[in-house]
Amino acid sequence: MAELTSFSYQPGDSLLHHIDVRFKILFIILISLMCLNLYFLELGILTSLLLGLIFHARLSLISGLKELRYFLILLFLIFVARLLSDDGPPIIKLRFVSVSIQGLHSGILVCWRLAFIVILGFAFISTTRPSAIKAGVQWFLKPVPFIPEKKVALMMGLILRFIPVIFYQAGEIADAQKARGVENRKNPVYRLTKLALPLMRRTFERADNLVAAMEARGFTENRTDPELALHKRDWISLVAVCFLSIFLMF
């Protein structure tokens, strides 16, 4: 089965790889919220730091951005919308359309903030094992009443595991139908139905087999808890992120 996405964990030995997942989740929330209130200079500092860390972790940002090509189109549309909708003295005027310097500023700023948050997510996903993300979510959900944190973590894990398999299956079904000339049918509803029904049937069959396989390996909800341990570098990184946040905010 071929590689399906580069937007996933890539083994490595960098600082980003070694920070405890709970701290990483905390940092992402803190920095994402903070960056929504930052302007060009502060965003520039944060972005440089993030790109430095990504470079240090030897992650391929280009392949990550390739995966995000549809998101980049969305960003472009947001940019155009902001560009044309903000009031201010026009710098370009064409009949009904006017572009202001304020619109340009606000378009760049909004897109930069959104892109920064997505790249932050890319750095997180690429440097954190799926099992660690699962363990972190389980740890954060533990004190929340009425939420079975172990079940939620297991479901997350299975979704992460089976998304590529389902995509692969969808590709196989689509290829098999193309081989039988489905492209000659112009009705998209017909084509979607013909793809979705066998895919769902296969997915449910697979789910059935998965349940049997899990039971055969003695599945129980009371399993060994995931291993999470804090080190000195985690506390140092927490202090660093706190100082950085205070510096950038004030």
């Binding site: 094992r129 595991r161 087999n209 049997a212």
Partner: protein, 249 residues
Amino acid sequence: MNIIEFENLCHRFADGTSGIEDINLNIREGSFVVIAGPNGSGKTTLLRHLNGLLTPTSGIVRLAGIPVEQNLLRARQLVGMMFQDADSQIVGETVYEDVAFGPENLQLDRSKIRSRVSKALELVGLSDFADQRPHLLSGGEKRRLAIAGVLAMEPRVIVFDEPFSNLDYPGVKQVLRHILALHQSGHTILVTTHDLEKIIAHADRMILMQNGKIIKDGIPADIMTDIEAFGVRKPCAFRLGLEAESWLS
């Protein structure tokens, strides 16, 4: 000593159709048994009773003298099961996590889990793939990962359901080599197949099933004569009046 005992085992599915009927069978510890039969003959249904994935409509299944239903977790630890579709059997997001799944279910402590996982990965030659995502493995590697997942439970019996389906020649040889190594290390091996060619040279007993019943049971060479009448192709060597030859030789 019999590690597996089926006594008057019958299983009917929810729609009333019969899966297996009146199976009486004992399997000695350490033996290598091939269960052959055409599709729908009841091979998988029979094996799924071994670790409680199916429960008998009537009759009893004992593992090392104790009924399966009396202690399901013991049964699942004692009998490791390899499914036909290795992709559906792999539940971890990485190779390491998949092998750790069984020991985590047994609630072992982390150091024990680590040692079992490393040992199992080493045995199947996947130590270098520990951080790899399973969907990127080849068919043969996935099958070996499924074997490692079973080995980490430290079972005494290992059941292989059509272990060679969809494998290329090197993949078949690798999996066969692992099956033989497991047998040599003292595991009881049960293999279901409708294609005897690849495995029969190594089996010390063959059971032939048809329509949910055991038709023949004995040493492979003794019961091979009219096997094709029951929907299973006779291996080439037997057709030519020769001794079965291993795919590894």
